[in-house]
Each structure stands twice: as C-alpha cells, then as structure tokens.
C-alpha cells in the first residue's frame, strides 16, 4: 500500500507502538459494529469500545504528567504522538477521537509547562488516571454571534456569553444555552471561557456535578454519534477561586487550547480520510465500469487522484503543525497569535479537505456512497460535524486577516 508521506523525523518508537495498538483496537472493537453507531442512542455498543480506548489503553492519561499518574509523554514528542494516535482513532471512529480531543485540550491548561497547575492536577488527574470508566471534558468557547442571551465581552470577534463574578474565595458563573464544542451531555468537567463585568477574560474549570450546571437534551447531530453534546446553562454556579485557571494577562494562554484542539481535529480528519481511501481503493479496484475496473477509467481516476492529493497535503500540514507545537523555541509560543492562527489555518484546510474528499469518494461509489453499508457516509457526516464544531471558517478568516494585515477593527 503506498504511503501518505509525513514528517518522520520526529516520530518516537512509543508513538509507533501506540498507533499500532490503536489500529488493532479499531479493527477489533469498532469496525464490526460502527455501522450501527448512529442508532446506538444509549451507547451500548459505543461505550465498551470507548472504554477500551480511553481506560484500558490509557488514552485518557495522555495529557497528564507522570507524577500525577499520567502517561508523562515528553513535551517535544507529545504533538506527534497525539497525531499518530488520533489518526488511528479517526480511521475507526472520528467521534471517539473528537471526545478525546476536547478532553485532552481542556487539560493542557493545567497539565503542560509553562502553566502546570499543581494544585488542580492533584485534584483532577486522578479522575482521569485512576478511574475505571470513561471520563471526559467539554470545552465551552465563545462564538461569532449568538442566538440567545447577550454578550459579556468579546475576544477576537467572538462573543463571550458566560458571566463570571469574582467574590470572596469563590466566583459565580452564569451563562445561558451555551453550545459546547464537544461532549456537553456527558462531560465530567467543563472548561469555560468567561468574562467579568469589567471585561476581564478568564478560563475556568467547572465540574459538571456542581449545583446550577444544567444540561439540555442531547442535540440531534449530523454525525459523531459517539459524542453526546447538549446545550449547557450555568445558573449561579459557584466555583472556588482555584478553578479560575487563567485570568487577566494569563488569558492569553487560551490560544493554546485552540492550537491543541485544532491539531487533534486535523489528525482525526486525516485518519477518516485515510480510511476512506482504503475503502475507495478496494471499491475502485473491484467495481467494473464500462468493462474495466473503475480506477482504470481516467474520468474516475481524476477523482481518485483528487482524494489522494488532499490526503497527502493534509497529512503533511498536520505533521507540520505538530512540529510547530513541539518547537516553541523556533516557532513561538503555542498560545501566540502566530501559532494559534497557523493552527486555525491548517485546521480549516484539513477539515475542509476531509469533507470534500469523502464527498468525492461518495461520487464514485454511487449509491454505495450514501448507503450506510458502503462504510464511508459515516465518515462524511462525522468530519462535517467536526468541521462545524470547530466553529466554521468565517471567524478563522477574520483571525487570519487580523494577524497578517494588522486589522484593528475587525
């Protein structure tokens, strides 16, 4: 099987082994049943597979330092390890990858240098490292424009609708009908971008069992059946000061969550594309059209080529982003506008490419393209849902313009 090249210099042996293990997990635990995931409303099929991945294979320990029971991956190696792992998860089921992406990114805020928060690691790491159950986190990011409530503050053209009032030793947090990035209906902890009346921006952690945390019904979605999302309302939720991870000057670190989350999404999309490629290659070899294998018809070959081209470029770009995140000394801080915007650019490209090429693959598989049985339409819906969840391209375009043209009023 020809390979989609990627920057191999920085891949560790550990990452290679992990990828192989996940691939085997996918083939054994996911592939036999994934055609039924969409109707698996109770997660009877999904949960056991996710548990194997998150708990038994330890994916939910990945972000945490060794001293708190985590995997303790060397920071330099973390981005590429993450990418190799999530490619494989994405091949099997983008939904589980997406749950992981949110959870992982959320905790980079307290688990990674230079902003390791020892107090919170001590408190939260055990939940993820010692539990025998799947534990997830849900990100609540500001959005461009809003349908309910009102804006408390504004960050890069996105409205923050979560109001945080600092008090004595605790903060009170309010927010109405918030749409999390992921996992709103299942998360154990929320990572929330909020603002005070005076316009100070903060990032806080909110355990879902606190009083006043209300979740709506699970949202009916295009795809990502493995991720249950729901709108979340925060009604006078009281959190201790220590859960305010970043505020004031430190709010700059929020950019890092974007960088990590986008890297994860890219890797998942690349995985979904690679699995589609595999299915398509098989189909185009065995399907006979006009007397020859489909792939030998040039008019179809141009579509096949388009699929391969986008996968190849997406993979290169994704590894490049990983490389950028692993070498701050060369490329700048992971939370800087330069790096987080680079991440967004690559994220926009890769998510778009995934949605596009899986759609093109469907073109060649005709009715087997849109039948569940053909085994690619789920990827198509899943990556489209990831793309939407990332917030759409408009706010990214504004960020790009802001950075490269030094726009001041966008």
């Amino acid at each position: 099987m020809p390979e989609f090249m990627y920057m191999k210099e920085s891949i560790t042996d550990y990452a290679g082994i992990m990828a192989k293990t996940i691939r085997e997990w996918g083939e054994k635990e996911v592939l036999p049943s994934r055609k039924e995931y969409d109707e698996d409303y109770e997660h009877k099929l999904i949960y056991p597979a996710m548990k194997k991945l998150f708990v038994d294979m330890g994916l939910q320990k990945l972000v945490w330092p060794k001293e708190y029971g985590g995997a303790g991956i060397e920071p330099m190696a973390l981005p590429t390890t993450l990418v190799r792992a999530l490619e494989e998860v994405g091949k099997a089921d983008p939904g589980m990858g997406f749950v992981f992406a949110g959870t992982f990114s959320l905790f980079t805020s307290i688990a990674l240098e230079p902003h390791v928060n020892r107090e919170l690691c001590t408190e939260f790491a055990p939940i993820y490292c010692e539990s025998g159950e799947v534990r997830t986190g849900s990100l609540i990011f500001p959005e461009q424009g809003y349908l309910v409530g009102k804006e408390v503050a504004n960050i890069k053209g996105r409205s923050i609708r979560v109001r945080a009032e600092p008090g004595d030793n605790e903060w009170v947090v309010n927010g109405e009908e918030l749409r999390p990035v992921n996992s709103g209906a299942m998360a154990d902890i929320f990572g929330v971008v909020c603002a005070t009346d005076s316009g100070e921006i903060a990032y806080v952690l909110i355990p879902s069992n606190l009083e006043g945390v209300k979740r709506g019904d699970p949202i009916l979605k295009t795809g990502l059946a493995s991720d249950k999302n729901a709108n979340v309302s925060l009604e006078n939720v009281k959190i201790p000061d220590k859960y305010v991870v970043w505020r004031g000057e430190d709010a700059k670190y929020i950019g890092e969550l974007v960088s990590w989350h986008t890297l994860c999404c890219c890797a998942i999309c690349v995985g979904a594309m690679m699995d589609t490629y595999k299915t398509l290659k098989e189909w185009s070899t065995t399907r006979i059209i006009r007397g020859k294998p489909l792939k030998e018809n040039p008019v179809d070959a141009i579509v096949l080529a388009d699929v391969a081209e986008e996968i190849a470029l997406s993979r290169i770009l994704t590894y490049n982003l990983a490389n950028t995140l692993s070498k701050s000394e060369i490329y700048g801080d992971r939370w800087s506008d330069e790096v987080s915007t680079l991440a967004e650019m690559i994220g926009m490209y890769v998510a778009n490419a995934a949605s596009k090429v899986i759609g093109r693959a469907m073109e060649l598989m005709a009715s087997m393209g849109y039948a569940r049985e053909g085994d690619i339409e789920k990827h198509w819906r899943d990556v489209k849902t990831i793309q939407s969840s990332m917030g759409g391209s408009m706010p990214v375009l504004m960020d790009i313009a802001r950075l490269f043209y030094e726009c001041e009023t966008l």
Binding site: G145, G359, E363, S388, G392, M394
Partner: protein
C-alpha cells in the same frame, strides 16, 4: 424573510394550472412537511410521519397520482402539452423540494415511469386506460417506480450510447402473449415495499445483447406475482424515500405492457434521463430557495456586535452568492421545463440534444446545491451540524441527488458526447 417568490421565474412559461396547484403544494409544504421534517430521519422505516403527507400529495389534496391519466379514465389529463405539464411539475417539485427533497422524489417517481407513455407525444392510450384504475380508483397512495439499476455497474444501464444495454441482466422472455421477467434490481425510489402502483422495468430480451432492439421497457403492476421488494436500506439522508432490492421471479405480464417496440424503447428511453434530471433540478432548486430562507432566519436572529449578523458584510457576501445560485437554479428549472413543454421549438425529450442540455443542467444545479449547502453549514458554525436548523439535512439530501441517475460522471459524458461530438466516450 426571503422566500421562493423573491426569485424570478419565467412568467410566460407558467402552466395554466399553476395557480391551482401551486397553493395546494405550498400549503402541504409549509404546514405538513416543514413542521415535521426534523422527525423523518428516525421515521425511515415506519414512515409514520411521511405516509400521511404522501397521501395528501398523491390522493387527498393534490391527487397527483392521477395527473397523467385522461379525465375519461378518472385522471387529471395533464398529458397534453397545452397544459404545460413540465412547468406544472416544476412548480410542484420546487415547492415540495424546499420542504423535503425525498418527498419530492417519491412524488416525482410516481409519475416518472408514466412519462414514457403518458405525455405528448408519447401517449399509449391503451396502457393508460389499463393502469388508470390502479391510480384513480383508490384512496390509497400508489407509488410508482423505475426499476433500472442492477447489482453490478449501476449507471451502465443509463449509459445507452456506450454500453448499449449489454450489462442488463434482467431478462424478459416472450412466451405466447406474455413477457416472463427474471432479474434483480437495486435502489429504485419507492421500493422497500412502498410501490403499489406500476413499475417500469428495464430489461433485455436477450442477455448480453448490444442490439438496441433487445432493450425493453416493460410495465409491471406492483402486485404481480413474483415481484418481491426487500427491506429499506439505511442511508445518509432522504429518509422519506425508501430504497431496497427488488427481485423479479418469473413475473408474467401481457405482451402489450412493453412500452413501445424493439428499437423505440431504447430510443425513447433517453427521455427517462431528461425527465429524471428535470425532476432533480426541481427538487434542488426548491431546496436552494429554502436554504436562503433558513440562512436569512438564522442570521436575522443571530446577533453580532449589536446587529443582526446578516448585516455583517462578510456573511452577507456568502448569503448573496447563494441567492444568486438559487436564482440561476430557478431560471434553469423553468427553462428546462419549457424545453420539455415545447418539443416543437426545442426537440423531443429523447433527442440527444435535449437530453444533453437537461443532464448538463442537472449537473450544474445539483453540484451548486451541494456546494451551497456546504457553505451554509460552514457559516452556521456550531449550529451547522444541528438537525434543528435543517440545513444539514438539505446537505445530506443534495449529495444523494448528486449521485443518482448516473452521478456526475455519466452526465459529463453525455454532455461531452453531444456538444463536442465525441464518438467513443
């Protein structure tokens, strides 16, 4: 709020019955389809929500299953070009299509097989008389079906010029005054047990033959012995349309049920491509207008910097591009309808020129609809994937319209063959 009426259509082409049927279809769409369409995905097997709507369209309110039967036989007599049947169908398809394209296709396909024997100049009055009771003397919706695709090499069937019927494995054998049909078809709209009316079955009278005389279109009432429809497939969208396998085992129908005759069946069969693509254009054009409306609603309600977000000019520019496409699509729809309504001006529906133009237009309109629903989803950000906004449903459905009828590639080949006189494609 922008509505379908804001997009111009060619006033001189409109059917004289437009004023009567337009409002009926609009009522069904606005009051039955749109309020319920969010439930169709889970309704894919039972059609608990879908069936009553189809009954209103085909029987109670629209009576559309009678459309192509003469009034003498209890029908509506839309057979005649003076009534501009295509322009009327354009109106029906776009109205229903903006609600749900699957309901629109279930409607369209009920009439589709009959276009080959029930629209001027292709009228087989004897067959219309024969089949009229099935559709006109009932209170039940009687879906119809075009049984074309086969397990291997799907669109090869429609690729008449190139494949010339060679790959058809459904064989019709003449025994005395009866055709005996054996074969296996896949995917027709209104299969999965839905069709109770008449199906047109594409057969060969001689397996593997390249001779157009062996290409046969034979009508088979659904209740005929030996016809078996499988269970509906699960698919990415279009839950209101059922598709399944369908088997024909020693199915016997009278000799007269062949549409026309050796040679003419193959020749006229192109008109099935023309009418099928025309329908697809109608569904998509309606959906595009609805996409504009949903976007208008979303971005009127969504606030950005204290104003409705549609006033944010970057968003407005995307909305504008989609509105332009919807206008182009609506014009194209009525242009194609007029092409079918005026064979005296533009040629018959089975002429290669007409088929090439209509297939090309389908290619454009549906590709555009796919792309525009993608843009629309992207614009909605985290509401894009949310089924509550219905845009993602349009996106899933349009993709299916793009893939059927031979998909993009077959249409490209048919266009290239005619416009560029390609001889070996």
């Amino acid at each position: 709020m922008v509505s379908i009426d804001d997009f111009a259509r060619q006033k001189e082409y409109i059917s004289p019955m437009d004023g009567q049927y337009g409002p009926i279809m609009r009522d069904i769409t606005d009051n039955e389809i749109i309020p319920n369409r969010g439930k169709f995905d889970e309704d894919w097997l039972d059609h608990k929500y879908v069936e009553p709507i189809m009954k209103d369209i085909l029987v109670d309110k629209g009576s559309l299953q009678k459309a192509l039967f003469p009034t003498d036989y209890g029908g509506l007599s839309f057979n005649y070009l003076e009534y501009r049947p295509a322009a009327l169908l354009a109106r029906i398809f776009e109205e229903v299509g903006r609600g749900d394209t699957a309901i629109a296709v279930a409607t369209g396909v009920t009439l589709w097989p009959l276009t080959l024997i029930g629209v001027e100049p292709l009228i087989r009055m004897d067959l219309l008389e024969e089949f009229a009771p099935i559709y006109c003397e009932t209170e039940e919706p009687m879906f119809g079906m075009m049984a074309m695709t086969e397990p291997q090499g799907g669109s090869d069937i429609e690729n008449v010029d190139h494949v010339r019927g060679r790959t058809i494995k459904t064989v019709a054998r003449l025994e005395g005054d009866e055709w005996v049909i054996n074969g296996h078809k896949l995917w027709p709209t209104n299969s999965g047990g839905a069709t109770k009316g008449v199906m047109a079955v594409i057969c060969t009278t001689k397996s593997g033959s390249l001779d157009p005389n062996d290409f046969a279109v034979i009508y088979v009432p659904a209740k005929t012995k030996g016809v078996r429809q499988g269970a509906p497939y699960k698919k990415a969208g279009m839950a209101a349309d059922k598709n399944s396998d369908i088997w024909f085992e020693d199915v016997r129908v009278p000799k007269e049920y062949r549409a026309w005759s050796p040679g003419l069946d193959a020749e006229y069969f192109r008109s099935i491509g023309s009418w099928g693509c025309f329908g697809s254009i109608g569904f998509a054009a309606g959906e595009l207008c609805d996409t504009c409306q949903i976007l208008d609603q979303h971005f009127s309600d969504r606030i950005y910097r204290g104003r409705p977000m549609k006033e944010f000019d970057a968003v407005a520019s995307v909305l504008a591009d989609i509105a332009v496409d919807a206008q182009m699509a609506r014009w194209a729809l009525y242009e194609v309808a007029h092409t079918l309504d005026r064979p005296d001006l533009y040629g018959n529906s089975w002429s290669p020129a007409v088929e090439a133009r209509i297939r090309g237009t389908k290619l454009w309109v549906v590709d555009t609809a796919v792309r525009d629903t993608e843009k629309a989803l992207d614009l909605l950000g985290r509401y894009g994937y949310d089924r509550a906004w219905a845009l993602e449903k349009h996106w899933r459905d349009e993709k299916i319209i793009q893939l059927w009828l031979g998909g993009r590639q077959l249409n490209q080949m048919i266009v290239a063959r005619w416009f560029y006189k390609c001889e070996t494609l």
